[in-house]
């Protein structure tokens, strides 16, 4: 098979892009084929583990968190930043504002005179500068399609079956991806890493703190719910059209529905088991009819994830470009009684912004990418602003790119400016939520991060100026109060293993490279 260089951008966009690169006509299908030919049977080989042994304490249920987060915040100073323009992402723009970071949390935020520092606090004069919550990218493939982008590192999409709900993105994340450091220099403090979009069900996503670690567990956002990646439209039918299907959009829908029916049956088996167990346990031990504890059903990794959606534990993130398809999916979610959390790459969200608001579904969008495939033909620069204009809406700007993730602030700025020119009332205090509070809400972590409010994690970016300007730079990035990036201090710029010891290549790496 001929090697073809996949531009990093394109590889990262497996789901989104699929257009041939200018001089390297590698297609998504090429990447898909490169990912492997053999069908996995992981879901069939899952064996009962020790954790499932029945005990006196209760029924034996699979662990919902077998790869738990080991993330711990790094040491932090008490920091008072004063004189800044603060966008709280909770609806306010505060001029001459101050923020106090203490014990990894936001202790206070407000007008200058309202926030005072305790003794020993580090004080930073931020006159002329801006402060926002840490940026959150709801759609990233960092670690799964890392740099360097080679066939050997292409781990983002298990393109072996239209339903790979059994795979978990975290098991592909390479924590040494230099892309994480570049995103940090763009103010990104939290990311959702998703599997690619070749499949109807791509697998589980994982939410990460953008803090380097030797292990992916060390990056996992404590307590963040899991997500499930699903995909509409062109990608699944193109990839599987000649591999047994689905080969049409109706085939896509049939594929989802069949899987949900199976998942509902699986869920019922486990629900019944729990009920049976409770009834058994309630019986007196002296009861001659008590007998042995009921046996737990066999596990199936694929159905376990889908049942997790039906249980409301796992959030559905669905790649879906076209308006008509999104509304079909909303009906399907009603049919099987689950909630879609967000439509990603929602190019045509503006055509059905009312439906989305009504259903409480976020739309994650680009500001201006378009035309790489036909379902991306109808974008408008005002897309995010038109979604925003609906009451109770949830507009998100996402990247899906190792380059784009570095300047989500600029993407939000473009989308905001387009909306304003069209007469839509949207200001920086609103648009900042598109890259902070709204993704946090969609990812189920808004109680911990995403806005600048007292009590929340001190995930904070100090910008050199207005972040809705092309010239603004993230100067300092705090995660849980710890200064993880300082543009002026090379000692506060992470360098991944791949980046060191390469001085002969003039390659020094680091967040700001």
């Amino acid at each position: 098979m001929q090697k073809l260089k996949l531009a990093a951008l394109c590889a990262l966009l497996l789901g989104a892009c699929s257009q041939q690169t200018g001089d390297n006509p590698a297609t998504e299908t090429d990447a898909a084929e490169a990912a492997g030919e053999s069908k996995t049977t992981a879901q069939e080989t899952a064996a009962n583990s020790e954790s499932e042994e029945a005990s006196d304490d209760g029924p034996s249920l699979p662990s919902k968190n077998p790869y738990p987060s080991t993330y711990e915040a790094y040491p932090s100073d008490t920091v008072l930043i004063t004189g800044a323009t603060i966008l709280t992402a909770a609806g306010d723009q505060i001029e001459g504002g101050s923020i106090l970071l203490q014990d990894g949390k936001i202790a206070a935020v407000g007008a200058g005179e309202d926030v005072t520092a305790p003794d020993g606090a580090v004080e930073i004069d931020a006159a002329g500068k801006w402060i926002t919550p840490g940026v959150i990218d709801i759609h990233s493939h960092l670690g799964d399609y890392p740099s360097p982008s080679m066939a050997s590192t292409s781990d983002g999409n298990e393109v072996t079956s239209p339903n790979t709900a059994h795979v978990w993105a975290e098991h592909s994340v390479w924590p040494q991806d230099a892309g994480f450091t570049r995103a940090l220099a763009g103010g990104v403090t939290t990311l959702q890493i998703l599997p690619g979009s070749a499949n109807l069900f791509g697998g589980r996503s994982v939410v990460l703190k953008n803090v380097p670690s030797r292990t992916v567990q060390g990056m996992k956002f404590p307590g963040a719910p899991y997500g499930l990646k699903m995909a509409c439209g062109e990608n699944p039918k193109r990839v599987y059209g000649e591999k047994g299907g689905p080969g049409t959009r109706m085939g896509n829908m049939a594929g989802y529905r069949s899987a949900w029916i199976e998942a509902a049956g699986y869920k019922k088996k486990w629900d019944d088991y729990e009920t049976d167990y409770e009834e058994w346990a309630a019986k007196d031990d002296d009861d001659e009819d008590k007998g042995d504890a009921p046996d737990a059903p066999g596990r199936d990794l694929k159905l376990e994830t889908l049942a997790g959606v039906l249980d409301g534990d796992i959030r559905v993130n669905m790649h879906c470009y076209r308006a008509d398809e999104m509304v079909q999916v909303l009906d399907m979610a009603k049919e099987f009684d689950y909630q879609v959390t967000a439509f990603h790459h929602a190019i045509e969200a503006y055509k059905i912004a009312d439906y989305l608001a009504e259903a409480g579904v976020c739309a994650a969008m680009w500001s201006d990418w378009w035309g790489f495939k036909l379902e991306a033909y109808d974008t408008v620069m005002e897309n995010a602003a038109l979604v925003h204009a609906q009451p109770n809406s949830c507009a998100i700007i996402h990247s899906d790119s190792a380059i784009g993730v570095q300047r989500l602030n600029q993407e939000a700025a473009k989308a905001m400016a387009a909306g304003r020119r069209a007469g839509i009332d949207v200001e920086p205090k609103d648009a900042i939520a598109w890259i902070t509070a709204h993704p946090a809400k969609s990812m189920g972590i808004l109680d911990q991060t995403g806005t600048l409010e007292a009590g929340k994690a001190a995930d904070v970016v100090l910008w050199s100026g207005n972040p809705f300007s092309v010239y603004a730079k993230a100067e300092k990035v705090y995660i849980d109060g710890a200064l993880m990036y300082d543009r002026d201090d090379p000692a506060r710029s992470p360098r991944m293993d791949f980046e060191i010891g390469q001085k002969d290549n003039d390659f020094t790496g680091g967040a700001g490279q």
Partner: protein
């Protein structure tokens, strides 16, 4: 250039709020006065509160305190920025509508098609592509419509076009030939750089031999490695008449390219150049410009390890002429984002005026059009943009775009869709009956 043709494509124009003008039917003959803007001439200093007078498609006068001719359409540019039209020096504009759909993507050959260098963008260029008005609204007035390499090393002849969308908008056919080297070249030549350089030298040797005596060449026996059509097309390259756009990134590869350029006396332009800053002095000495994406900063391949956001600033400091392009895969749909890319280069140390030159005069120079395009000077073609602020700022947009002195329609398919769905209420008739322009 036919004036009747231009008349026939003129439409009524709605400019931004502050620059609303009524168009005369006689578009080509129109006189336009852009008054009281900050005029970035590119050839000299910014003229604050300056004026640009346009007559018969050319810039007639540039200066301060000029008087608008009585027959002029006046555009009030107070508080606005006036620049030359932007020139996208490497894009598949007019060759692609939908990237992923082969039916609407003519930008490179597929399926083992054997010819490369002989392909010509003008054969496929579609002036009615929706990409043209969408990017024109972002201030792009000229572009190189550039084919990409398929299975051979060469992509074919690229053409300079104007972004008016009129039928005859090819300005300079065969303005450059396209070559892919680096890993992309190796992948087309036995998966090794040894293969790609060997094949390239053989192409050039054979092209020279063909050019010296075509009749003799075709009579002699050959191994059949190269097709005569391709060798013929490489004639202007080997003669040093036509620039060769070379997609190449790694410093090691670029050093090799400089050697080759000197050996064969070629005109070479580097495209990509993620590590070009490492060989900035050598590029300057060899007079090789670089068309780059200033946002590339990831070690995507071993040929990109030292990619940095400071590439543009460092190349400029070394005296290398630079211009910008959208990364591969986004090669035509978002030329309007070139200003954002340039703005980021400025944020990383490139002087603002150098970034403006990279968007205007530098590409014009690269393709031999500097006497006609790229600055606001009397006598030049009147490609002019009036911006509502700093052109490099992400929140800025053009309010007026002129090509060949003609005020352009800034409406496009995306605007039409936005207007159609601005109001989602059911109405008396479906959305399909609304805003059908």
């Amino acid at each position: 250039m036919s004036s009747t043709m231009m008349k026939s494509t003129m439409k009524s124009v709605l400019l931004g709020v502050s620059a609303c003008v009524a168009m005369s039917a006689s578009a080509f003959a129109q006189t336009v006065a852009i008054m009281n803007g900050d005029v970035h001439t590119i050839s000299g200093n910014v003229i604050e509160d300056g004026d640009v007078i346009i007559r018969n498609g050319r810039i007639a006068q540039v200066g301060a305190d000029l008087t608008a001719p009585s027959d002029a359409t006046v555009i009030d540019a107070s508080g606005k920025v006036v620049t030359p039209g932007l020139f996208a020096p490497y894009s598949s504009i007019g060759l692609v509508e939908i990237g992923a759909d082969q039916e609407s993507n003519d930008s490179y050959p597929e399926g083992g098609f054997s010819l490369g260098a002989a392909l010509d963008a003008t054969d496929a260029y579609n002036p009615s592509s929706t990409l043209i008005p969408i990017n024109r609204a972002g201030g792009i007035t000229r572009a190189l419509s550039t084919p990409s390499a398929g299975d051979t090393l060469f992509g074919g002849n690229a053409a300079v076009i104007d972004m008016s969308g009129r039928v005859n908008s090819i300005m300079k056919p065969a303005a450059a030939q396209v070559l892919v080297m680096g890993y992309g070249g190796a992948a087309r030549a036995g998966d090794t750089r040894m293969g790609s350089w060997l094949v390239l030298r053989e192409y050039l040797d054979e092209a020279r031999s063909y050019r010296a005596n075509p009749n003799d060449y075709v009579r002699r026996p050959h191994e059949g490695r190269f097709l005569v059509s391709d060798l013929k097309a490489l004639g202007p390259v080997i003669a040093g008449e036509q620039p060769l756009l070379v997609r190449i990134d790694g410093a090691n590869d670029i050093r090799k390219l400089i050697e080759l350029k000197n050996t064969y006396s070629l005109r070479v332009i580097v495209v990509g150049g993620s590590e070009a800053w490492r060989v900035g002095d050598a590029l300057q000495a060899a007079n090789i410009p670089v068309i780059l994406d200033p946002l590339v900063n990831l070690p995507s391949q071993f040929e990109d390890l030292s990619a940095t956001l400071e590439n543009a600033a460092r190349l400029h400091a070394a005296g290398v002429k630079i211009a910008f392009y959208n990364p591969p895969g986004f090669g035509a749909h978002n030329l309007r984002a070139l200003t954002q890319q340039a703005g980021n280069a400025v944020a990383e140390g490139l002087p603002h005026d150098a970034a403006m030159a990279a968007l205007t005069i530098n590409p014009a120079e690269m393709f031999g059009l500097a006497s006609r395009l790229g600055t606001l000077e009397a006598g030049k073609i009147a490609d002019v943009v009036v911006w509502d602020g700093d052109p490099l700022e992400v929140t800025t947009q053009p309010e007026a775009v002129l090509i060949d002195g003609v005020v352009q329609d800034l409406g496009n398919r995306q605007n039409a869709l936005m207007k159609r769905y601005r109001d989602l209420s059911r109405g008396d008739l479906p959305h399909a009956y609304r805003g059908g322009e």
